[in-house]
Protein backbone atom coordinates (compact mmCIF):
# COMPACT_ATOMS: atom_id res chain seq x y z
CA UNK A 1 0.00 0.00 0.00
CA UNK A 2 0.93 3.66 -0.23
CA UNK A 3 1.56 4.87 3.30
CA UNK A 4 1.05 8.32 4.73
CA UNK A 5 0.97 10.18 8.01
CA UNK A 6 -1.26 13.02 9.02
CA UNK A 7 0.54 16.36 9.00
CA UNK A 8 1.01 18.03 12.38
CA UNK A 9 -2.24 19.65 13.53
CA UNK A 10 -0.62 23.08 13.81
CA UNK A 11 0.35 22.96 10.12
CA UNK A 12 -3.20 21.97 9.19
CA UNK A 13 -4.72 24.70 11.33
CA UNK A 14 -2.48 27.19 9.57
CA UNK A 15 -3.29 25.91 6.09
CA UNK A 16 -7.07 26.01 6.55
CA UNK A 17 -7.08 29.30 8.45
CA UNK A 18 -7.69 31.57 5.45
CA UNK A 19 -10.90 29.67 4.65
CA UNK A 20 -14.26 29.50 6.35
CA UNK A 21 -15.83 26.46 4.68
CA UNK A 22 -13.72 23.33 4.26
CA UNK A 23 -14.53 20.12 2.43
CA UNK A 24 -12.52 17.37 4.13
CA UNK A 25 -12.09 14.44 1.77
CA UNK A 26 -10.82 11.01 2.81
CA UNK A 27 -10.00 7.97 0.74
CA UNK A 28 -11.16 4.43 1.37
CA UNK A 29 -8.05 2.68 0.08
CA UNK A 30 -4.38 2.69 1.20
CA UNK A 31 -4.64 5.63 3.58
CA UNK A 32 -7.53 3.90 5.34
CA UNK A 33 -5.42 0.78 5.89
CA UNK A 34 -2.48 2.77 7.26
CA UNK A 35 -4.81 4.83 9.48
CA UNK A 36 -3.86 8.13 7.89
CA UNK A 37 -6.87 9.31 5.90
CA UNK A 38 -9.86 6.98 5.96
CA UNK A 39 -13.34 7.70 7.30
CA UNK A 40 -12.24 7.46 10.93
CA UNK A 41 -9.29 9.80 10.50
CA UNK A 42 -11.48 12.23 8.59
CA UNK A 43 -13.95 12.29 11.49
CA UNK A 44 -11.18 12.74 14.04
CA UNK A 45 -9.47 15.56 12.17
CA UNK A 46 -12.81 17.24 11.56
CA UNK A 47 -13.61 17.08 15.27
CA UNK A 48 -10.19 18.47 16.19
CA UNK A 49 -10.33 21.36 13.72
CA UNK A 50 -13.87 22.27 14.70
CA UNK A 51 -12.95 22.35 18.36
CA UNK A 52 -9.89 24.46 17.67
CA UNK A 53 -11.85 27.09 15.77
CA UNK A 54 -14.71 27.00 18.29
CA UNK A 55 -12.15 27.88 20.94
CA UNK A 56 -10.88 30.72 18.76
CA UNK A 57 -14.49 31.86 18.30
CA UNK A 58 -13.84 31.84 14.57
CA UNK A 59 -16.66 30.86 12.21
CA UNK A 60 -15.65 27.60 10.60
CA UNK A 61 -17.63 24.96 8.76
CA UNK A 62 -16.38 21.59 7.71
CA UNK A 63 -18.05 18.92 5.63
CA UNK A 64 -16.73 15.37 5.60
CA UNK A 65 -16.78 12.86 2.78
CA UNK A 66 -14.70 9.76 2.13
CA UNK A 67 -14.44 8.60 -1.46
CA UNK A 68 -13.95 4.99 -2.51
CA UNK A 69 -10.73 6.08 -4.26
CA UNK A 70 -9.37 9.56 -4.71
CA UNK A 71 -7.04 8.56 -7.53
CA UNK A 72 -9.82 7.62 -9.98
CA UNK A 73 -11.79 10.32 -11.79
CA UNK A 74 -15.09 8.39 -11.50
CA UNK A 75 -15.10 8.77 -7.74
CA UNK A 76 -13.95 12.40 -7.82
CA UNK A 77 -17.21 13.20 -9.64
CA UNK A 78 -19.04 12.54 -6.38
CA UNK A 79 -17.70 15.89 -5.19
CA UNK A 80 -19.42 17.84 -7.98
CA UNK A 81 -22.71 18.47 -6.09
CA UNK A 82 -20.95 19.72 -2.94
CA UNK A 83 -17.74 21.35 -4.09
CA UNK A 84 -19.32 24.81 -4.36
CA UNK A 85 -20.27 24.74 -0.71
CA UNK A 86 -16.58 24.84 0.20
CA UNK A 87 -13.92 27.56 -0.05
CA UNK A 88 -11.15 24.94 -0.08
CA UNK A 89 -10.63 21.19 -0.05
CA UNK A 90 -8.50 19.47 2.57
CA UNK A 91 -7.60 16.03 1.26
CA UNK A 92 -6.52 13.14 3.44
CA UNK A 93 -5.59 10.95 0.47
CA UNK A 94 -2.05 10.34 -0.75
CA UNK A 95 -0.52 12.87 -3.12
CA UNK A 96 -2.22 11.15 -6.08
CA UNK A 97 -5.66 11.85 -4.64
CA UNK A 98 -4.85 15.46 -3.84
CA UNK A 99 -3.68 15.99 -7.43
CA UNK A 100 -6.76 14.36 -8.93
CA UNK A 101 -9.03 16.74 -7.03
CA UNK A 102 -6.85 19.69 -8.06
CA UNK A 103 -7.00 18.59 -11.70
CA UNK A 104 -10.79 18.19 -11.69
CA UNK A 105 -11.62 21.42 -9.84
CA UNK A 106 -9.25 23.97 -11.32
CA UNK A 107 -10.47 26.94 -9.33
CA UNK A 108 -10.65 25.31 -5.92
CA UNK A 109 -7.66 25.40 -3.57
CA UNK A 110 -6.74 21.85 -2.55
CA UNK A 111 -4.60 21.31 0.52
CA UNK A 112 -2.84 18.09 1.54
CA UNK A 113 -3.62 16.87 5.06
CA UNK A 114 -1.15 14.00 5.03
CA UNK A 115 2.49 13.49 4.12
CA UNK A 116 2.64 10.64 1.62
CA UNK A 117 5.61 8.57 2.61
CA UNK A 118 6.38 5.21 0.97
CA UNK A 119 5.12 1.97 -0.52
CA UNK A 120 5.16 -0.49 2.30
CA UNK A 121 3.61 -3.29 4.28
CA UNK A 122 2.18 -3.68 7.78
CA UNK A 123 4.79 -5.15 10.11
CA UNK A 124 2.26 -5.39 12.92
CA UNK A 125 -0.71 -3.45 14.22
CA UNK A 126 0.16 0.23 13.93
CA UNK A 127 3.58 -0.27 12.30
CA UNK A 128 4.29 0.10 8.58
CA UNK A 129 7.64 -0.32 6.86
CA UNK A 130 9.02 0.60 3.47
CA UNK A 131 9.26 -2.27 1.00
CA UNK A 132 9.34 -1.04 -2.60
CA UNK A 133 10.66 2.07 -4.32
CA UNK A 134 8.90 1.49 -7.64
CA UNK A 135 12.10 1.14 -9.64
CA UNK A 136 10.25 -0.21 -12.67
CA UNK A 137 12.53 -3.24 -13.13
CA UNK A 138 12.06 -5.59 -10.23
CA UNK A 139 15.03 -7.65 -9.04
CA UNK A 140 13.29 -9.49 -6.18
CA UNK A 141 13.64 -12.74 -8.14
CA UNK A 142 17.41 -12.69 -7.71
CA UNK A 143 17.56 -11.14 -4.25
CA UNK A 144 15.54 -13.74 -2.42
CA UNK A 145 12.41 -11.61 -2.25
CA UNK A 146 14.03 -8.77 -0.32
CA UNK A 147 14.33 -5.44 -2.09
CA UNK A 148 17.85 -3.98 -2.07
CA UNK A 149 16.61 -0.66 -3.42
CA UNK A 150 13.90 0.16 -0.91
CA UNK A 151 15.46 -1.62 2.03
CA UNK A 152 19.22 -1.03 1.71
CA UNK A 153 20.02 2.49 2.83
CA UNK A 154 22.55 2.82 0.01
CA UNK A 155 20.49 0.99 -2.61
CA UNK A 156 23.39 -1.38 -3.18
CA UNK A 157 22.77 -4.03 -5.79
CA UNK A 158 25.78 -6.08 -4.71
CA UNK A 159 25.93 -5.67 -0.97
CA UNK A 160 26.50 -5.63 1.83
CA UNK A 161 28.68 -2.63 2.47
CA UNK A 162 31.33 -2.67 5.17
CA UNK A 163 28.93 -1.16 7.67
CA UNK A 164 26.70 -4.18 8.10
CA UNK A 165 26.98 -5.21 11.75
CA UNK A 166 25.22 -8.17 13.35
CA UNK A 167 22.41 -7.95 10.85
CA UNK A 168 21.87 -4.24 11.32
CA UNK A 169 22.46 -1.35 8.97
CA UNK A 170 25.17 1.18 9.79
CA UNK A 171 22.77 4.02 9.13
CA UNK A 172 20.59 3.09 12.13
CA UNK A 173 20.79 0.07 14.44
CA UNK A 174 16.99 -0.20 14.25
CA UNK A 175 17.15 -0.92 10.52
CA UNK A 176 17.78 -4.49 9.40
CA UNK A 177 20.61 -4.73 6.88
CA UNK A 178 18.82 -5.61 3.65
CA UNK A 179 21.80 -7.59 2.45
CA UNK A 180 21.85 -9.67 5.60
CA UNK A 181 18.17 -10.40 4.99
CA UNK A 182 18.93 -11.28 1.37
CA UNK A 183 21.73 -13.63 2.40
CA UNK A 184 19.59 -15.30 5.09
CA UNK A 185 16.78 -15.83 2.63
CA UNK A 186 19.01 -17.18 -0.12
CA UNK A 187 20.48 -19.60 2.42
CA UNK A 188 17.01 -20.73 3.47
CA UNK A 189 16.16 -21.28 -0.19
CA UNK A 190 19.40 -23.23 -0.79
CA UNK A 191 20.26 -20.67 -3.46
CA UNK A 192 23.44 -19.12 -2.09
CA UNK A 193 25.04 -19.41 -5.53
CA UNK A 194 22.73 -16.54 -6.53
CA UNK A 195 24.69 -14.36 -4.18
CA UNK A 196 27.83 -14.94 -6.22
CA UNK A 197 26.19 -13.49 -9.32
CA UNK A 198 26.95 -9.85 -9.81
CA UNK A 199 23.89 -7.78 -10.52
CA UNK A 200 24.89 -5.38 -13.32
CA UNK A 201 24.49 -1.63 -12.96
CA UNK A 202 20.81 -0.81 -13.01
CA UNK A 203 19.20 1.27 -15.72
CA UNK A 204 17.43 3.85 -13.61
CA UNK A 205 15.46 5.20 -16.55
CA UNK A 206 12.72 2.70 -15.69
CA UNK A 207 12.48 4.44 -12.34
CA UNK A 208 12.30 8.13 -11.53
CA UNK A 209 15.49 8.67 -13.52
CA UNK A 210 13.46 8.70 -16.72
CA UNK A 211 11.11 11.45 -15.60
CA UNK A 212 7.41 11.01 -14.79
CA UNK A 213 6.22 7.60 -15.94
CA UNK A 214 3.04 6.35 -17.52
CA UNK A 215 1.64 2.88 -18.08
CA UNK A 216 -0.49 2.33 -21.16
CA UNK A 217 -2.34 -0.93 -21.62
CA UNK A 218 -3.26 -0.82 -25.31
CA UNK A 219 -6.01 -3.41 -24.90
CA UNK A 220 -7.70 -1.37 -22.19
CA UNK A 221 -6.92 2.21 -23.12
Amino acid sequence: MITAERKPIEDLIQSVSPYRRILLVGCNECVTVCSAGGRKEVALLSSALQMHFMKEAKPFEIKEITLERQCDPEYIEELVPIIDQADAVLSMACGCGVQEIARRFKEKPVLPAVNTTFMGASERQGVWAERCAGCGDCVLGVTGGVCPIARCSKQLLNGPCGGSTRGKCEVDPDIDCAWQLIWDRLKALGMTERYEENIPAKDWRTGRGGGPRKIVREDLA
Binding site: K40, L44, A48, M51, H52, F53, M54, K58, P59
Partner: protein, 148 residues
Protein backbone atom coordinates in the same frame (compact mmCIF):
# COMPACT_ATOMS: atom_id res chain seq x y z
CA UNK B 1 -17.07 30.60 38.13
CA UNK B 2 -18.51 29.65 41.54
CA UNK B 3 -21.61 28.24 39.92
CA UNK B 4 -19.74 26.39 37.20
CA UNK B 5 -21.04 22.83 37.07
CA UNK B 6 -18.81 20.85 34.74
CA UNK B 7 -20.27 18.20 32.49
CA UNK B 8 -18.19 15.04 32.77
CA UNK B 9 -18.56 12.02 30.51
CA UNK B 10 -17.24 8.74 31.90
CA UNK B 11 -16.88 5.76 29.59
CA UNK B 12 -17.08 2.83 32.00
CA UNK B 13 -16.34 -0.78 31.24
CA UNK B 14 -19.22 -3.12 31.98
CA UNK B 15 -16.95 -5.61 33.74
CA UNK B 16 -15.30 -3.25 36.22
CA UNK B 17 -15.93 0.49 36.53
CA UNK B 18 -19.63 0.26 35.69
CA UNK B 19 -20.10 -2.44 38.29
CA UNK B 20 -18.00 -0.39 40.70
CA UNK B 21 -20.44 2.51 40.12
CA UNK B 22 -23.28 0.15 41.06
CA UNK B 23 -21.36 -0.86 44.11
CA UNK B 24 -20.88 2.80 45.05
CA UNK B 25 -24.63 3.27 44.67
CA UNK B 26 -25.59 0.32 46.83
CA UNK B 27 -23.11 1.46 49.50
CA UNK B 28 -24.77 4.89 49.43
CA UNK B 29 -21.45 6.53 48.56
CA UNK B 30 -21.82 10.02 47.17
CA UNK B 31 -20.31 11.16 43.94
CA UNK B 32 -21.14 14.24 41.87
CA UNK B 33 -24.17 14.15 39.59
CA UNK B 34 -21.96 15.93 37.02
CA UNK B 35 -20.59 12.56 35.92
CA UNK B 36 -22.61 11.04 33.07
CA UNK B 37 -21.77 7.39 32.77
CA UNK B 38 -21.71 5.61 29.43
CA UNK B 39 -21.48 1.86 29.77
CA UNK B 40 -19.23 0.18 27.21
CA UNK B 41 -18.60 -3.55 26.74
CA UNK B 42 -14.86 -2.92 27.16
CA UNK B 43 -12.76 0.26 27.23
CA UNK B 44 -11.10 -1.10 24.09
CA UNK B 45 -14.35 -0.10 22.35
CA UNK B 46 -13.81 3.57 23.15
CA UNK B 47 -12.19 5.23 20.18
CA UNK B 48 -10.35 8.53 20.05
CA UNK B 49 -13.36 9.91 18.18
CA UNK B 50 -15.81 9.05 21.00
CA UNK B 51 -13.70 11.10 23.40
CA UNK B 52 -13.20 13.99 20.98
CA UNK B 53 -16.87 14.19 20.08
CA UNK B 54 -17.93 14.16 23.71
CA UNK B 55 -15.78 17.27 24.19
CA UNK B 56 -16.84 18.90 20.94
CA UNK B 57 -20.47 18.45 21.88
CA UNK B 58 -19.99 20.23 25.15
CA UNK B 59 -18.42 18.02 27.82
CA UNK B 60 -15.85 19.79 30.01
CA UNK B 61 -13.98 16.61 30.83
CA UNK B 62 -13.98 12.98 29.78
CA UNK B 63 -12.56 9.91 31.41
CA UNK B 64 -12.32 6.29 30.54
CA UNK B 65 -12.46 3.78 33.39
CA UNK B 66 -11.36 0.24 32.74
CA UNK B 67 -10.12 -2.86 34.48
CA UNK B 68 -6.92 -3.09 36.46
CA UNK B 69 -3.76 -3.82 34.54
CA UNK B 70 -3.81 -7.43 33.35
CA UNK B 71 -7.47 -7.93 34.30
CA UNK B 72 -9.24 -6.99 31.06
CA UNK B 73 -12.12 -9.37 30.30
CA UNK B 74 -11.02 -9.23 26.66
CA UNK B 75 -7.32 -9.45 27.52
CA UNK B 76 -5.98 -6.11 26.36
CA UNK B 77 -8.84 -3.65 25.83
CA UNK B 78 -7.68 -1.50 28.74
CA UNK B 79 -4.14 -1.31 27.31
CA UNK B 80 -5.54 -0.15 23.96
CA UNK B 81 -7.71 2.41 25.73
CA UNK B 82 -4.73 3.76 27.70
CA UNK B 83 -2.82 4.33 24.45
CA UNK B 84 -5.81 6.04 22.85
CA UNK B 85 -6.33 8.32 25.81
CA UNK B 86 -2.66 9.32 25.57
CA UNK B 87 -3.13 10.02 21.84
CA UNK B 88 -6.20 12.17 22.47
CA UNK B 89 -4.42 14.09 25.24
CA UNK B 90 -1.68 15.05 22.79
CA UNK B 91 -4.22 16.03 20.15
CA UNK B 92 -6.11 18.19 22.65
CA UNK B 93 -2.89 19.92 23.65
CA UNK B 94 -2.16 20.61 19.99
CA UNK B 95 -5.55 22.21 19.31
CA UNK B 96 -5.37 24.30 22.47
CA UNK B 97 -8.12 22.57 24.45
CA UNK B 98 -5.72 20.93 26.89
CA UNK B 99 -5.00 17.22 27.35
CA UNK B 100 -5.64 17.38 31.10
CA UNK B 101 -9.37 17.33 30.39
CA UNK B 102 -9.10 13.66 29.53
CA UNK B 103 -7.93 10.84 31.77
CA UNK B 104 -7.72 7.05 32.03
CA UNK B 105 -8.47 5.26 35.29
CA UNK B 106 -8.31 1.64 36.37
CA UNK B 107 -10.41 -0.12 39.00
CA UNK B 108 -12.00 -3.47 39.69
CA UNK B 109 -15.72 -4.24 39.99
CA UNK B 110 -15.48 -4.30 43.77
CA UNK B 111 -13.92 -0.84 44.12
CA UNK B 112 -17.01 1.25 44.81
CA UNK B 113 -15.01 3.68 46.94
CA UNK B 114 -12.42 4.16 44.22
CA UNK B 115 -15.19 4.85 41.72
CA UNK B 116 -16.78 7.49 43.95
CA UNK B 117 -13.43 9.10 44.78
CA UNK B 118 -12.31 9.14 41.15
CA UNK B 119 -15.59 10.76 40.08
CA UNK B 120 -15.30 13.37 42.83
CA UNK B 121 -11.62 14.17 42.25
CA UNK B 122 -11.94 14.38 38.49
CA UNK B 123 -14.98 16.65 38.75
CA UNK B 124 -13.06 18.94 41.11
CA UNK B 125 -10.07 18.99 38.77
CA UNK B 126 -12.26 20.00 35.83
CA UNK B 127 -14.06 22.56 37.95
CA UNK B 128 -10.65 24.11 38.69
CA UNK B 129 -9.71 24.06 35.01
CA UNK B 130 -12.92 25.88 34.12
CA UNK B 131 -15.32 25.33 31.23
CA UNK B 132 -14.25 23.65 28.00
CA UNK B 133 -12.69 26.51 25.97
CA UNK B 134 -14.39 25.24 22.82
CA UNK B 135 -17.79 25.72 24.41
CA UNK B 136 -16.79 29.15 25.71
CA UNK B 137 -15.69 30.15 22.20
CA UNK B 138 -18.90 28.85 20.71
CA UNK B 139 -20.95 30.90 23.17
CA UNK B 140 -18.93 33.98 22.16
CA UNK B 141 -19.65 33.25 18.53
CA UNK B 142 -23.33 32.91 19.33
CA UNK B 143 -23.23 36.37 20.97
CA UNK B 144 -21.91 38.04 17.81
CA UNK B 145 -24.59 36.30 15.81
CA UNK B 146 -22.35 34.01 13.79
CA UNK B 147 -23.58 30.49 13.28
CA UNK B 148 -21.36 27.44 13.81
Amino acid sequence: MESFQPVIVAFCCHYCAYTAADMAGSKRLHYPANVKIIRVPCTGKVSALHIMEALRKGADGVYVAGCLDGDCHFRSGNTCATKRVAYVKKLLDEIGIGGERVEMFAMSAGMGEVFARTATDFTEKIRDLGPNPARVGLDKLGCVGAGA
